[in-house]
Symmetry: C2
Subunit: 211 residues, 2 copies
Amino acid sequence: MDTRTLCLGALKQGPCSGYEIRKRFEEGPFGHFQDISFGSIYPALRRLTDDGLVTVTDQEQDRRPDKKVYEMTPQGHLALARMVSTDPASDKFRSDLLFSIFFADLLPADRLAELVENRILQHEAIVRELSKCEDDDGHGPHCPTRPGPEFVRGLGLTIHRACLAYYRNNRNFLIEGHLTDNDEPTGGKSDSHASDSDRLRQPATTSGRTT
Amino acid sequence: MDTRTLCLGALKQGPCSGYEIRKRFEEGPFGHFQDISFGSIYPALRRLTDDGLVTVTDQEQDRRPDKKVYEMTPQGHLALARMVSTDPASDKFRSDLLFSIFFADLLPADRLAELVENRILQHEAIVRELSKCEDDDGHGPHCPTRPGPEFVRGLGLTIHRACLAYYRNNRNFLIEGHLTDNDEPTGGKSDSHASDSDRLRQPATTSGRTT
DNA sequence: GCGTCCATGTAAATGGTTACATGATTAT
DNA sequence: ATAATCATGTAACCATTTACATGGACGC
């Protein structure tokens, strides 16, 4: 999605400034699958204004810099509706970590372990954040939540929980299966530990309710 | 990862041409978490050659255009090892589909259903592809597989299976919970169907072996 | 005949990140 | 004091995608 549409999406949750749009992407419910920065937000807002999809209102503030509050016009709402209905570009997932892990045998065992541990911590943090079921969609407390945001949040949780479980279950497979240059592949003594760590585990495919 | 490192990664699986590098990213084991196109590959190979990280050999072919076969130098191997050991940039996941679904109430129910169905088909295709356990890492048949590629492939499978299950279990929640403008939110008759579709389901967190 | 695969490469256009410039307030 | 938060905006830089240019072989 181009930045303009992304801005409209943020604005859909209520009028706000460019600065606040970024916060909505950093902390809000979009953050886990879209990303923008100031350098693209401000020019986008400019264009949206020129095209009549949003309006600006200068707002003076006490002890704060003035801000420009942007608000969607009816055309803006239409444009957003049009955009979300077009065929979406395929998901893009880029992971340098997976690239590194693919070449696990090129890096020292402790470094590999460190990378994996860090990733586990990151997934834990994200799961924690997505778990606090706050009404993050900006429609005040306890509106009957629309299914869209709920569905998206739930999918995020599912993915990160699945990754977390996978990393926890299989890090030993990775790290213990990681033969350093000094190890004899044929194994002399430290052999026959056909333990947990020699097979990949996959989460069960059954799915129960956990609300 | 910059394209140069990505090319080295592809070349690590054996010497090949720029054209074949792209194929390794399209079909090979990297494809699901990294992406490159010709426009970036050829300049990258140029720079790698200039920097002495790869060598080129012109190779004439029968009934085919000549090709340039690139091969890593010792420095190239070192450079790759150095790169995979540096702190990886955080994963980037961009999904226009999730953005659209977030605003599910802005698009017609049938369009929403179509988008979800398509995504289910895509996940099914990917799961199928990752499931055929071919020794995709280019080291010939039945080498004792290195843990890196195995781990990465397993994680890909886990993620896509989790997504697939989630979409299947919760599409009704999304689509039936999707009130069109004509529906009365207070519900007159078609009420009290507190069925499957009014709650989100999450896969069980238990994990068993499926080899 | 038309499309696709093979194969390399360049150039233009696109779009985004990073850094810079500015500056008050508040918290540590 | 120092850093972070609030707040907007521009410009330089970077990288990537897309389109173009070229052309033979092969299958339908």
